[in-house]
Amino acid sequence: MKALRKLFAVIKKEFRQLRRDRITFFMIVGVPIGQILLFGYAINTDVRNLRSAVANQAHSHLSRQFVAELGQTQVLDLQFTVETPGQLEELLRMGEISVGVFIPPDFDRRAIDVHRPAAQMLVDGGDPTILGVANQLALMPFGFDAQSTVLRNRTIEVRPYYNPERRTAVNIIPGLIGVILTMTMTLFTAVAIVRERERGNLELLINTPVSTAELMIGKVSPYILIGLIQLALIVGVGQLLFKVPVRGSMLDLYVAASAFIVANLALGLFISTVSRTQFQAMQMTVFLLLPSILLSGFMFPFDGMPKLAQYLGELLPNTHFIRLTRGIMLRDASLADLGQELLVLGVFAVIALTAAILRFSRRLD
């Protein structure tokens, strides 16, 4: 009961201070809107090893040869073999694969028919880079074609899912939510404790009965609400200006975002306990922000990155959050489909908050 009163005292104080800080207010509203308008365009790169699955219903020598050649391009990493196109779609929706190759039962006959594509590629068109790669792959000359005198347009028909118009914004904006929240949330709390230290407030605070946990949780709580406001802003502007859909459940999106926000706030608090000045805290935040942009799958397709970069990327909350937002917003995936990503964020938040509380010293030496 007493703990709760003390906790609310800290929360109330934070809100009052926030309300009066114009720069903070600018960060809450200005940063998301500015960024969303800025990031209109993506950067395309070569992509390799896209996780993919094959549903080969032809079971013929020719079709197996075709699959082998697809694998040899190294563009696709054929991880799963399934039976039906429905299963491919399921894997696609769950974010397990970005490309599904469907080989129909009449593949051998289609292969010699100039007018009909022999196979179909189901592509997560949410990411235009991947879609571009799939399109190029579809133009690949296929072995059995060499003897043919007839020029055929395409061996494979490409069917983009989720983003039929191939608009970059559709892919960028779900990712941008993560980038903006990483930037603002981490920074807010990264400077929180240091600022109180610099202004001398901390010396008074640590001489009161307020516990470290009360102080930390009280500092984090108001920003959860602010993070959700930012989310609403970005999604709203995204829908309004860039026609970015939210195909999944809005509730799922907010739940996922809450976990992500807490993870970043806790990380910020940890930064705050290790830095001595606000400037140091900001530098550390930027140091964290760059990989969150470059290695999280926001800018470059995650699967296309070198293995080491992927391992690093897995350590960043933003990587997991981007999978969640793209899944929920573009592919109508549910939290159940993406439970693992949510779990990672939760674990991350608990570890970071615990580390911050343990690291926080109630002494000055």
Partner: protein
Amino acid sequence: MATNPGLAIEARGLSKQFGNLVAVDHIDLDVPKSRIYGFLGPNGSGKSTTIRLLCGLLTPSSGGATVLGLQVPGEAAALKPRIGYMTQRFSLYGDLTVYENLEFIADIYALTRAQRNRRIDELLEKYDLVAQRRQFAGTMSGGQRQRLALACAVLHKPELLLLDEPTSAVDPKSRRDFWAKLFELAHDGTTILVSTHYMDEAERCHRLAILDRGRKVADGSPAELQAATGMNIVEVLADDPVVAQSALGELTEVASITQLGLRLRVLIPESFADPIALIEAKLGQHRITARTATVPASLEDVFVAVTQKRQAA
């Protein structure tokens, strides 16, 4: 450490070292309850560090202290609700109003809503902040801020109040009012430890310790200290005090000379008999006319005497 129930603070050999700097060097303290105890010393004498050690904010390098019967820093958590601390720097929130600051502190100490409202009204009245109730703390004058800081420090009615140079940024009128409040608090049973570098403030304390470069060089009541300087103080009224000062400076017996307007205050250790004769002989040698008289020691003389003694040693 044996704890004397009449003492609020008992420190033995309390030391704090920062790298090569010995900020507090084996200090022993006995601070009686319900009294105002002063720390007198220049900047860098270890006043703030000692106060922080006593709050449990710093870990001593050696030695230890018992505050209100609790060991610091080990039992600091239990001590926090029972002490009030006013930092040297204004440490409340400049972007919160007077009322909001008080409210925050009250909630931090987990007062009930009714207790809180009653106590805040009482404090606003008592510390003359009713008109500033809605003013941002950051826009207030030094005196107002200091009253707010004191109000926040005593809000939870602590048994012990630690004040680190509370009056360094306020005008003389505010200082007088502030001290009146401290006496009221002491009268009501609060023990007050206050650091200062003002002699007139030190004189108001029931007891005080003089600190010099981390060491306690004297302690006692102001009267005791003034009686035990070990110096004769001779006041010299000369037409040209500057010339007189340079002449008297030749005397190896003189511990210190301070000019106050036309007067010089000359400190000579008691081991030298007849200081007046000594001074008049010297002035006569230089054909300087002056009137001389021995006077009782002021606290400033005490301060000069004890710090000089240590330099000599």
